[in-house]
């Protein structure tokens, strides 16, 4: 690119995130990009030799931005993550170093909520199973496909009533579901019933939709006890993080019929869901695509550039992570 590129602000990209891969050219025309994944140097060497003065990093939602990595970015003042989730970033270290963090905020909430609803309807009404049935040519030979279960009137328990949880609630109310929730903090301005713990929520619901962030407290929060409390007709939808569920126990409960089905966009070890799930007709599996729509990626590109431009011109960030 020649001398033009030297004048562009420099950022280091870690991941790389899907949105970067899609908008590579556009990003490269606005910023000078450090690309560690294209180098054969081990990351600490790369950072030490190239990123000593780098002020800003763009990282994906899966990239473990640990204190060790941050230590090799001594000049860093800004991290922009492409995700709404923050569990991959050592926020304590960022705070200590005075590194600002910008994220996707509420940007994806509609897309994620849409997928949660889609997965729930699919599990209850056997859409993916039905589609397979027809496309395998089975309908003429087996005239009666098994009945599904009605969505209306189901008691839906939302775990984590943040932006995504609220969007899920709004949609499912229109389907005639009764909404209740369990969240870190009770939300006084909603009319939904709040339960003080997830076990009580599960005992009073037919469906659990997991919309919470992954933290120490929520890690494997959905355990065998919770699933038994949900019951044999219960359905779990997970669009949060795989580690919120004890996946081994989930598989057991599904195999034993202790719960009726599950719709999962996230897994403990992506991209490798527990293989036992592949044999089951009553689960719908999705490859962590909740935010991967054309519209979201385009908007995310704009949001990221907006944050980076603001940073490099000393203006307030567009979507800074709030202090809690």
């Amino acid at each position: 690119m020649g001398s033009g590129a030297e004048q562009l602000p420099e950022i280091i990209v870690l991941g790389p995130p899907a949105v970067f891969e899609i908008y590579d050219e556009q990003f490269s025309s606005r910023f000078r990009i450090l690309r560690p994944w294209e180098s054969e140097e081990p990351l600490p060497h790369f950072l030490a030799s190239r990123a000593h003065t780098t002020l800003a990093a763009l990282c994906s939602g899966g990239y473990p931005l640990s204190a060790a990595v941050l230590a090799n970015l001594p000049s860093l003042r800004l991290v922009v993550t492409t995700s709404a989730g923050l569990d991959h970033i050592d926020l304590t270290e960022c705070r200590r170093r005075g590194i600002a963090v910008a994220y996707a905020g509420n940007f994806f909430s509609a897309d994620v909520a849409d997928l949660a609803v889609g997965l729930l309807v699919d599990v209850l009404r056997k859409m993916t199973a039905g589609n397979r049935f027809v496309k395998n040519g089975l309908w003429p030979h087996k005239p009666h496909f098994p009945l599904g279960f009605k969505l209306g009137g189901k008691r839906v328990g939302i775990v984590g009533l943040g932006s995504i949880g609220l969007e899920v609630a709004k949609r499912l109310e229109a389907f005639g579901c009764a909404i209740s929730y369990h969240s870190r903090k009770e939300k006084p301005f909603v009319s939904y019933t709040s339960y003080p713990d997830i076990h009580e929520l599960a005992s009073n619901c037919d469906v659990l939709v997991l919309c919470c962030s992954l933290t120490e407290q929520t890690h494997q929060m959905v355990n065998r006890e919770v699933m038994l409390a949900l019951g044999k007709d219960g359905v779990i939808v997970n669009i949060s993080r795989g580690a919120v569920i004890d996946e081994k126990e989930l598989v057991s409960c599904l195999l034993q019929g202790e719960i009726a089905g599950a719709g999962l966009d996230v897994f403990e070890h992506e991209p490798r869901p527990s293989p036992e799930l592949y044999q089951l007709d009553n689960v719908v599996l999705s490859p962590h695509t909740a935010v991967l729509t054309e519209e979201s990626m385009e908007g995310l590109y704009q949001l990221i550039c907006g944050n980076l431009d603001a940073f490099f011109t000393d203006k307030p960030l567009l979507s800074q992570v709030p202090d809690e």
């Binding site: 899907a18 899609i22 509609a110 897309d111 909520a113 849409d114 997928l115 609803v117 889609g118 997965l119 309807v121 699919d122 209850l124 009404r125 056997k126 859409m127 993916t128 039905g130 589609n131 397979r132 049935f133 027809v134 496309k135 040519g137 309908w139 003429p140 005239p143 009666h144 496909f145 009945l147 599904g148 279960f149 009605k150 969505l151 209306g152 709004k170 949609r171 109310e173 229109a174 389907f175 005639g176 992506e270 991209p271 490798r272 869901p273 592949y278 719908v284 599996l285 999705s286 490859p287 962590h288 695509t289 991967l292 729509t293 054309e294 519209e295 979201s296 990626m297």
Partner: protein, 312 residues
């Protein structure tokens, strides 16, 4: 009442069949090897017919049953019943409205989500192990898409109410304008031109047969999606298949087909198409409610009480 002959035209629901067996003298039409002989023999004892979306009571059957008093449908659609002939002969007709409205509307939205977000294709992607090699491609956002509804009856309205929760602008075409805030279009082509997703929710009549034809499909376009939870004959199926195969239509979610259970095989390999085996009202809860309505209508008729859900 167990001397009253009831003819069930095809298998449709075990609970309904068992209850009809208990309460009436049930004849299972599909088990008869020679149906015209059977009718000739049993005609005098059959006073009711129970039909559904697959088979009902056409003119021939009605004429063959001189003692027929009532046709009770295990469906809300009446396209398989010759209503004119029933009116002429004073035969009552009932169906199962309202109890299945929610399920059908739920499935319509489910199909929209499944097509736009490629939910079925994604499940296949994971199960095949392909995820290990890379992410699935970008899909299309559903919230905010313009929904065009053909037929704003009970089911059409229920679809609209759900779609509103996703911030989808709603427009519709109907025989007559309704008292709603949704945008009305006087023709299906106009509706299709102004919609991202077109959903068929009207009754099947001679007027609405092939209401979605080549012109409508062209107007919907290469990014448009068609959802059919009505009846197969609402759509010119050959044109639909060609448009999908050639990429002139963006996608389709279909619960019904022109000649069920036959489904055009050219659709099987398309990941932008979701196919279901006519399960619109297919939940445990709703089928029992529908069966109870059929039974309730029959009992009301034969006890000379007002019918619960009469059509004729």
């Amino acid at each position: 009442m167990d001397a009253i002959g009831v003819l069930m035209v095809c298998p449709m629901n075990n609970y309904l069949e068992q209850e009809l067996d208990k309460r009436f003298k049930l004849f299972r039409y599909w088990t008869q090897p020679k149906q015209s002989e059977f009718l000739a023999q049993q005609a005098e004892s059959i006073r009711a017919v129970v039909g559904n979306a697959t088979a009902g009571a056409n003119a021939d059957l009605i004429d063959a049953l001189p003692k027929l008093e009532i046709v009770s449908c295990f469906s809300v659609g009446l396209d398989k019943v010759d209503l004119t002939r029933c009116k002429e002969k004073g035969v009552r007709v009932t169906n199962t409205p309202d109890v299945l409205t929610d399920d059908v509307a739920d499935l319509a939205i489910g199909l929209m989500l499944a097509v736009l977000r490629r939910i079925c294709a994604c499940d296949k992607y994971v199960r095949s192990g392909a995820w290990k090699l890379g992410d699935f491609k970008l899909t299309t956002k559903f919230s905010g898409k313009r929904i065009g509804i053909i037929g704003l009856g009970r089911i059409g309205l229920a679809i609209a109410q759900r779609a509103e929760a996703f911030d989808c602008p709603i427009s519709y075409h109907s025989r007559s304008k309704k008292a709603t805030n949704y945008t009305y279009y006087g023709s299906v082509v106009e509706l299709a031109s102004n919609s991202d997703i077109l959903v068929i929710a009207c009754a099947l009549t001679p007027e609405t047969t092939h209401i979605v034809n080549r012109e409508v499909i062209d107007a919907l376009g290469p990014k448009g999606v068609l959802i059919n939870i009505g009846r197969g004959p609402h759509v010119d199926e050959a044109e639909l298949v060609a448009a999908l195969v050639e990429g002139r239509l963006g996608g389709a979610g279909l619960d019904v087909f022109e000649k069920e259970p036959e489904v055009p095989e050219q659709l099987f390999g398309l990941e932008n198409v979701v196919l279901l085996p006519h399960v619109g009202s297919g939940t445990e809860e709703t089928r029992i409610a529908m069966a109870d309505l059929v039974l309730g209508n029959l009992e009301a008729h034969f006890s000379s009480k007002p019918l619960l859900t009469p059509v004729v």
